[in-house]
Symmetry: C2
DNA sequence: AATGAAACTGAGTTATCGCTCAGTTTTACG
DNA sequence: CGTAAAACTGAGCGATAACTCAGTTTCATT
């Protein structure tokens, strides 16, 4: 079970940073100190290995969010929203490779032909958007968030915004940290209750 | 000159939709009705072909934005901002393959080793963010946009938001059109002058 | 029609790919 | 111990990749 774990870990980094087609079984074997046959002993194909990685990433992300937000007190829905955004950015830094992987096109290509991929991707995105939505709904109930916005759609916009920032950071286009305060301000202005 | 054009056009679609590594010279030759050698006669390598495509995409995008916004009257900076967002989404639909290509990781991978890639990508992003920034600055001057936001940083956030939406649309995650109104509303709430 | 340059061809080269499989080593357990 | 299952190995296979090159066709100009 030692080698299987190593393969999963190294493959996650390589698939995320070099891409799926550009990562060969040969390289994977070399970097994990295994024989190439071992990869195909544990996973039925290269695609199967990718799927196993995606399942792990899903488990990890869903688990992290559930643990962070269960039984956690928030002063208001608006504050909860801000903390969700903040935690998302924190997690994207902590699990950089995994978020990079989620931004790679080949996952979405496979999900067109293999429903297992689609299922896992949807689970991740639904989990994330649901949390944003819950924060907005909470805020609308306690009066900290304006009722003029549509909760689900605004959650999607918010998610788009935060996830887009993570993408730019991972692509080294510009520093996401420098935009953190601006993002929070935008978030507040977008959702704040009207006076 | 006929075949060179065909190669550029078909390769743009294939690189954008299938990826760089997953598109072979063989397939490219078949779909363009050329011999494989013709590709390497016109472009010194597969990477050279990709670079030629990127240069075209840059020219096209920069040109489109310059043409659309030169000598164009806007009632206010806020309205200009909205029209920029709107035009960006329109263009992303019109040139879907090219925007899809810009979201592919291999471009950013090449730009780490080949400054020509970096140069072209920066030209595109700078052009886009500059226009968003100009709209915000205009709005702050005419009073339609709040002075509480930092023009450049807000332009980046705005761009992140719009570009993220395009990405979700291209990845078939959800319908960007259904979020258009919400995006505009967010844009206005984010930037509106305080009362 | 003649000619030189530019465009184009496709078989061939070398390398690497994902994957298989027959065989070896390690592990778990009575 | 003994033994059977599980984990692991690496040479080898067929397919396909990017790219080359010696030769052919097309084209513009006279």
């Amino acid at each position: 079970m030692k080698k299987k774990e190593a393969i999963l870990r190294v493959a996650t980094v390589l698939f995320a940073n070099k891409g799926f087609a550009d990562t060969s079984g040969q390289e994977l074997a070399r970097l994990t100190g295994t024989a190439e046959g071992t990869i195909f002993y544990h996973f039925k194909s290269k695609e199967g290995l990718l799927l196993a990685i995606l399942e792990r990433v899903r488990d990890e992300i869903v688990d992290q969010f559930e643990r962070f937000f269960e039984n956690r007190p928030f002063a208001s829905g608006m504050e909860m929203t801000e903390e969700v955004v903040s935690f998302y950015l924190y997690l994207a830094g902590l699990m950089e490779d995994k978020f990079l992987l989620l931004h790679r096109h080949f996952l979405y290509k496979f999900s067109e032909s293999n429903p297992e991929f689609r299922k896992n991707l949807e689970a991740i995105y639904n989990c994330l958007v649901d949390i944003f939505e819950k924060a907005i709904v909470t805020g609308q109930a306690d009066g900290s968030v304006t009722k003029e916005v549509h909760p689900r759609k605004s959650a999607l916009i918010l998610f788009t915004m935060v996830d887009g920032l993570v993408r730019f950071k991972n692509y080294n286009l510009y520093d996401a940290g420098a935009l953190f305060n601006e993002l929070m301000q935008t978030c507040r202005r977008m959702l704040q209750a009207d006076t």
